[in-house]
Amino acid sequence: MTALGTPIQGVTLYSFTRAFHGREYDLEGLIRKTAADGFGPGLEIIGFSSFRGFPAIDDAYAGWFRDLIDEVGLVTTSLAVNADIGIHRDRLLNQDELIEYMTLQIKAAAKLGFPIARVQISIEPDSMEALAPIAEAHGVTLALEVHADQYASHPRILALRDRYEKVGSPFLGFTMDWGATVSGFAPSLIEAYRRRGASEELLGQVVDLWNTYYEQGPPADQADHGQRFGSFIGLAARHGRPDLGIDFGINGTGLFGPARVDDWRTIAPWIKHVHGKFFGIDENGEEPSVPVRDLVKLLVENGYNGAISSEYEGWHWNYWQSPFDIIAGEQAVQRSAAGAAGSRMITDLAEARTQLGAWLPNTEGAHA
């Protein structure tokens, strides 16, 4: 039997996008607040959001950043990087250009002290295979994010898993994003539509439509996905609110993925990092639309010892509640769930550092 896992508590600064973009906190201020409010010890950052000039990172800046992390007592977990395949307006990057583009970001991760680089679905199996030795050389694990509208047993994810198995590099894995396994249309988003004047009748039908897709499970293929997207647009149009249609479609299909929690078992051994995606905390202190307790239980039972970055996505629409309070609320649910599963979350810095070091592969001579 697998020993129970003790996931490391953490947060991604993406949760605080509204505060950073609104210039309420700069990067240093957010890092200090993350440490002071106990949202760590794990810290995840999006390179292109937080570091000016990314992926170019000079030595002085990297030194400043590492010293700051040490001073405040956090542990860097994942640097979220992007495969900007469409950076040229007239064409997509070819394979060689993509490898070069990603290599710069892998180097930046190593330089800043992140042992993981989160990559995204646009990177295909051939590219992941080509990147494996580069990741290894820099001591950075590549964890490709499984995000709605994909899910663990999606053919594209299975193709990656099968390639990982063939390549056999411990530096290739997945980031599990809880948004793929959501159990309801987020009530806080319904509230945001209400504030935009949507009728109760329309809102009721949005929830019903999403629930229908939840019963059916994830879309069978892109055509099915497109059909669902279109049905949200049609619903809004029929109620005289065509302005809300695309928003319904994007959120109803791209944020709230309808796969079941057990689907994650398909790729469980390859999960190296987790985005604890969620949308809000209700008056009972629970996440009403993401099965956080079941997800934490699954990770614990699978012996997961990596980090969970709490990833609050409700900031897009929720301008009336503090993201900091909401993160604290979700992390309390995670800790309670880990306890209920007979384990615990790691919140101690020294324990987190030791455990993360043992969880991820190392490269001798590389600075990870």
């Binding site: 292109f48 495969a83 997509l92």
Partner: protein, 131 residues
Amino acid sequence: MIPDRIIEQGTLRTDGPRAAVEVRLPWYRALPGSCIAGAELTIDGKTAPAESLRWEMNGAEFTFDELRTNIDEWWFPTDSAVLSGDLDIEPDAEHEVTVGLTLYIPYIIISDTETLHIDEKNTKTMKAVAA
């Protein structure tokens, strides 16, 4: 994404035949010039001619044609850019300003040849200040 933040309140300037306003990125991560595909500047219902539009960021001014191929200059999420165009408006008076932006999101590929683009729009009313 956060389109209500596009126009910076109180930044409308007029300089003879031209008007300018500061704008913020309606996205969470930096985008290069090549992804800033187009803009529209409308004041009191009059839209600036497209060829008169200029985009200033990181201390340099660009036409939208120049931005098309620029992957060296990036629009950082906390920086203001300046959108200007040919519009003759009254200084010291209130104006209704609308800015539309078309941005490409370079990591979201929606077909073998196509990258996702978003169109965002914001309207605010503010007083113009003479440059």
